[in-house]
Amino acid sequence: MPEISRDEVAHLADLARIDLDDAELDHLAPQLNVILESVASIQGVAGDDVPPTSHPIPLVNVFRDDVIRPGLTPQEALSGAPEVDEQRFSVPRILGDEQ
């Protein structure tokens, strides 16, 4: 039976940049466990003869020709941006995280 600890939930929240307080962690960790248990019941159905898959259809090598296709105009691309400056997406600085 998989189990996700409160610490793991806190770690995942941190990775996902979601600020959860103690009460929320107490609340969410058991809920995530319920979800994992449900998924685990599906895992039980698969026998040893069923390999794990990452794709539902047994296809390989679906390739696109290297041909330019029209995309978005800058105006369209930026239309959903909360803030725009110099035709670019303006985002708050992120500390301690330079890639």
Binding site: H11, D14, L15, A16, R17, S54, H55, I57, L59, V60, N61, V62, F63, R64, D65, D66, V67, I68, R69, P70, G71, L72, T73, P74, A77, L78, D85, E86, Q87, R88, F89, S90, V91, P92, R93, I94, L95, G96, D97, E98, Q99
Partner: protein, 500 residues
């Protein structure tokens, strides 16, 4: 973060106590017309956010499709690096939250790289080092963030960042070496030679511009030190984005000195990324490797696996050019270059240009002389690649043809090149328009020689007395009068005919 000032140990001293181990990660941006998973163009230098679509912006519902040409390029790079090509492999999501990746994951490959287990032999001072390749995998580039408000364009002190997603999704091949050991004092040069050899190889395949200055080839340098003779690897640091061949060498050298300083003082190395500073060749602390490295990779459900048929792989193997080392040896033999001349030619990035110039009719030494002299100087002065100086190999051969025909001399040839930079026409037209042809009219030359003899009676007398070497002074005087437009050999003949 380390804040203590570290004493650097002089490089020669490092080797007395420690053995270096390196790992090099090189990202190569492919020169496909379109991005890895969408049909957006990849041209460098376009206006911000003009080469984007729902897929590379990570908009909801957009679906990626693999660029077949990028897979082909990846396989060809792998084959050229003597790699195995996976029979079946998948893409994976590398999850992280940073605004340069709008999807909040980078599509990459994790434990199933398309190419693995290869090697590249590199030469340093006549000795060959085999650099083993761990893997070469496909992934996509990130967007470009410009940090506003910080003093150095870095994030520290920045108030906000501006993002251009033109680069997001451009196909990248990441080539990762196995730990490189046993190079000792040669470690910095082996690192540089490896990146140079890789650049040459990829360039030869024609799959990337491999311009380190434009970021189409980027190198991360991992380095650790272990006590001499120890089998246990030390803690490594990863210096990111080292973007010139010289910087690769300097980064290795600096980190070796820095690590040795810390270890010798009884300290321990922090596993972290480091930034390289071009100015003084130093590195500074970046991110500490920690939980942030938890990328929670999983197979990309929106893409189907890549399973290159063996027939296709063999067909691509047939398209590989002659390996660079073999080709260099063949050309050196054919051109009669010394080892040093050949090394300089390759080092200057002039091999193809010299080859094409020779093919267009110039003698090998003449072709080398122009590309590594006059033209290299111009490239250097203007921060250009040799291919961008505004002169083609055919034109260089034409200029040399004019020199060979004694229509112009080397000095005048430089003025012809200036005409070529300025787009004044063909070399022959420039000679005509600028009136550069040497004066072959013996009447005019003869008069200038007479003037020179009359103006330098002492020199003339020396020559009459048999000191032929003194003729140089008279030749100089004649050339001055002819404003350089004379064939020095012919002038010499005339002087000697008159005085001996």
């Amino acid at each position: 973060m380390t804040s203590a000032v570290t004493t650097l140990v002089p490089f020669e001293k490092v080797l007395e106590t420690f053995d270096p181990t390196m790992g090099l990660e090189v990202h190569v941006e492919l020169n496909t017309a379109t991005k890895m998973f969408c049909g957006c163009p990849t041209e460098f230098g376009a206006e911000p956010n003009t080469q984007v679509c729902p897929t590379c912006l990570g908009l909801p519902g957009a679906m990626p499709v693999v660029n077949g040409a990028a897979v082909e390029s990846a396989i060809r790079i792998g084959l050229a690096l003597n790699c195995e090509i996976a029979e079946w492999c998948r893409f994976a999501r590398k999850n992280y939250f940073y605004p340069d990746m709008p999807k909040n994951f980078q599509t990459s490959q994790y434990d199933e790289p398309i190419c693995f287990e290869g090697y590249l032999d590199v030469e340093v001072d006549g000795e060959t080092y085999r650099v083993e390749i761990e893997r070469a995998h496909m992934e996509e580039d990130t967007g470009k963030a410009t940090h506003i408000g910080g003093a150095t364009g870095r994030i520290h002190g920045a108030s906000h960042s501006l993002i251009d997603y033109n680069r997001a999704g451009i196909p990248l091949i990441e080539i990762v070496t196995k730990p490189i050991r046993g190079t000792g004092a040669k470690a910095p040069e082996v690192a540089k030679a490896y990146v140079a050899a890789l650049r040459e190889l990829v360039k030869g395949l024609g799959v990337s511009d491999v311009r380190m200055d434009q970021g189409s080839m980027r190198c991360d340098v991992n380095l650790s030190l272990a006590p001499k003779g120890s089998e246990v690897l030390g803690t490594r640091t990863e210096t990111k984005n080292v973007n010139s061949l010289r910087s690769v060498e300097r980064a290795v050298r600096y980190e070796m000195s820095r690590h040795a300083g810390i270890l010798s003082a009884g300290g321990s190395i922090l596993q972290e990324t480091r930034h390289f500073h071009e100015g003084d060749g130093s590195t500074s602390a970046g991110r500490e490797k920690s939980d942030a490295e938890d990328y929670r990779y999983f197979p990309e459900p929106d893409l189907v696996p890549v399973a290159p048929a063996r027939e296709w792989v063999e067909e691509l193997r047939g398209t590989l050019p002659e390996p660079p080392a073999v080709r260099r040896a063949r050309l050196q033999e054919a051109w009669g270059f010394s080892d040093m001349e050949m090394r300089d030619t390759v080092g200057a990035g002039a091999l193809e240009l010299v080859e094409e110039t020779i093919a267009a009719g110039a003698a090998p030494q003449a072709a080398r002389k122009w590309w590594l002299g006059e033209l290299a100087r111009r490239a250097n002065d203007h921060g250009l690649e040799l291919t961008e100086v505004g002169v083609t190999p055919v034109q260089v051969a034409e200029v040399q043809g004019l020199v060979d025909a004694k229509t112009i001399n080397d000095k005048l040839a430089r003025q012809v090149f200036e005409g070529l930079y300025a787009g004044e026409g063909t070399p022959a037209e420039i000679v005509e328009k600028r009136g550069l042809a040497v004066v072959s009219d013996d009447g005019a030359l003869s008069a200038a020689v007479d003037n020179a003899i009359a103006g330098n009676p002492d020199v003339a007398q020396k020559i009459r007395d048999g000191k032929v070497a003194a003729a140089g002074a008279l030749i100089g005087a004649v050339m001055k009068e002819m404003r350089g437009q004379a064939d020095a050999g012919r002038v010499r003949e005339l002087i000697l005919a008159k005085l001996t």
